[in-house]
């Protein structure tokens, strides 16, 4: 579904992405793992077209995403730090996104809005929200349009355990519905039970891309975090 081929991106002297190639398919739940500054977020932004690669290309459903924008209607994106116009209320942000992305055929998925109890605080201004609430808004927006692909950048950071659980449950549900879910996270334990594939990045390079089973087999560890630790140690 998403195929990245030799994607390279430099910010000045810093090489953020170095010749990354990866293939992500429908029904997979991929965990993008790596230390801070390893290029996870840059890679995700490349997928979203927010960062333009210096070389290499990315296809989405066999179409090059360069100079393309329609493909993003099939993606729900939850940024690491959700940034919104400060003087808009939650309701206005939701309405605006609905207005902009309105596709008559798609059934809106407002489940998360209810589960996170956002409907009770719709009149609050984005500028006055706590980091956690902002994350809830971001998550709700990502799932709102029932997209085929979900890209979640550090989804559980800043969420309380209860909300984390709600979100995980939601991800699992979407996975079962056959969607491609791409998650970056450094808190590995959160993801253990939903991940099917692991991409490990380090200093802009893709170290490996394996299915969870394969990884468990290779390392002999059941738990994802242990397996990764072993890989990193070796």
């Amino acid at each position: 579904m998403i195929i990245a081929t030799s994607v390279t991106k430099k910010f000045g002297k810093l090489t953020a992405l170095d010749n990354i190639s990866a293939t992500c398919n429908k029904g997979q739940t991929i965990s993008l793992i790596g230390p801070n500054g390893s290029g996870k977020t840059t890679f995700i932004k490349c997928l979203l077209g927010m960062v333009v690669p210096d070389s290499g290309f990315i296809t989405f459903n066999k179409q090059n995403i360069a100079h393309n924008w329609q493909y993003r209607s099939a993606i729900g994106y939850m940024p690491q730090i959700g940034r919104y116009p400060e003087n808009m209320t939650i309701a206005q942000v939701l309405d605006m996104m609905k207005d902009i992305r309105k596709q008559s055929a798609v059934q809106l998925d407002e489940e998360l809005i209810h589960l996170f109890k956002l409907d009770g605080m719709l009149h609050k201004r984005m500028g006055n929200l706590s980091g956690g609430t902002r994350q809830k808004v971001s998550a709700s927006l990502a799932f709102l349009f029932n997209p085929d692909v979900l890209i979640l950048d550090e989804p559980t950071a800043g969420l309380d355990p209860l909300s984390t659980e709600i979100l995980k449950e939601k991800i699992r549900k979407e996975k079962q519905a056959g969607k491609l879910v791409l998650i970056t996270s450094h808190i590995l334990s959160d993801l253990d039970d939903i991940v099917t594939e692991v991409i490990y990045m380090e200093e802009g390079r893709l170290r490996f891309h394996k299915s969870l089973n394969q990884l468990q087999e290779d390392t002999g560890e059941k738990k994802l975090s242990r397996a990764i630790a072993q890989v990193m140690g070796s």
């Binding site: 077209g49 924008w69 940034r83 808009m88 996104m97 902009i100």
Partner: protein
């Protein structure tokens, strides 16, 4: 695109600075016309407003707005929207709201107190200058990542267009006094939108003097209908080129 413009405009309308700018222009215009018994003298006072304050506010406000809207822009870019459309919507929203502010604050008093062709020309030029400097601001802010640096560049550009450029031209005119300078002068004028606007207003305000001071080449260029049309086209280019360039830059910008 309409929808994005709508949300940019909604955001700008909530912005108190645009309202303050409108009031500021209105207070100045009204007091100028009420203090001077002769409306044509009022027009002269407002000329400086149009040629100095309007470009300053347009360029600085737009630059600051674009930096402050970076979250909003990021949010929009991750959505299924064309980047060109996002950028043009921001441009349209900014230009439209500043134009409305100018029209209400300055244009309406001018058209009430001095509804002559000078007044109409000045209002038109104020609008054009607004649009041009919004475009230049967008370019300045897309070229510089840092907010403080971007605002600095904006103020510098304003200073260059209102004062430094004319100073250099004046210097050159005296350095090369013994040579025919009419043609180069027309080229110089085209290099500065504020000069073009000023000359178009002068054509209505000081036509008698202009027809005498410079020789036939000036009359042949600015004096005729097509010359004015050509000047307006060049001014449109002054809005179009920076905008086009900024769109190109924004299309490839990493957010």
């Amino acid at each position: 695109m309409k929808k994005i413009i709508k949300y940019v405009l909604l955001d700008l309308l909530r912005n108190r600075i645009v309202i303050a700018y409108t009031l500021f222009l209105a207070v100045i215009s009204m007091s100028v016309f009420n203090l001077e018994d002769n409306p044509s003298k009022g027009i002269l006072s407002l000329l400086n407003l149009v040629l100095i304050i309007v470009p300053l506010v347009s360029i600085v406000f737009s630059t600051i707005y674009v930096y402050n809207a970076s979250e909003f822009i990021e949010l929009l870019v991750s959505q299924p929207l064309r980047r060109v459309n996002i950028w043009l919507s921001i441009f349209t929203g900014l230009a439209a709201s500043l134009c409305v502010a100018f029209l209400v604050g300055c244009g309406v008093p001018v058209l009430i107190y001095a509804p002559s062709d000078v007044g109409i020309m000045m209002t038109a030029m104020g609008l054009l200058i607004t649009i041009i400097f919004v475009a230049i601001a967008l370019l300045a802010s897309v070229l510089t990542r840092d907010k403080a640096k971007g605002i600095g560049v904006a103020i510098l550009l304003w200073f260059y267009f209102t004062l430094i450029f004319d100073g250099i031209v004046l210097f050159l005119l005296f350095q090369f006094m013994d040579y025919p300078m009419e043609k180069p002068m027309i080229v110089f004028s085209c290099l500065n939108p504020i000069d073009l606007a000023r000359i178009l207003i002068l054509l209505k305000l000081d036509i008698s003097a202009l027809m005498g001071a410079t020789s036939a080449i000036f009359r042949d260029f600015f004096g005729y209908q097509w010359g004015i049309v050509a000047t307006l086209l060049i001014m449109t280019t002054w809005a179009g080129m920076p905008l086009w360039w900024s769109v190109r830059k924004f299309n490839r910008k990493d957010l």
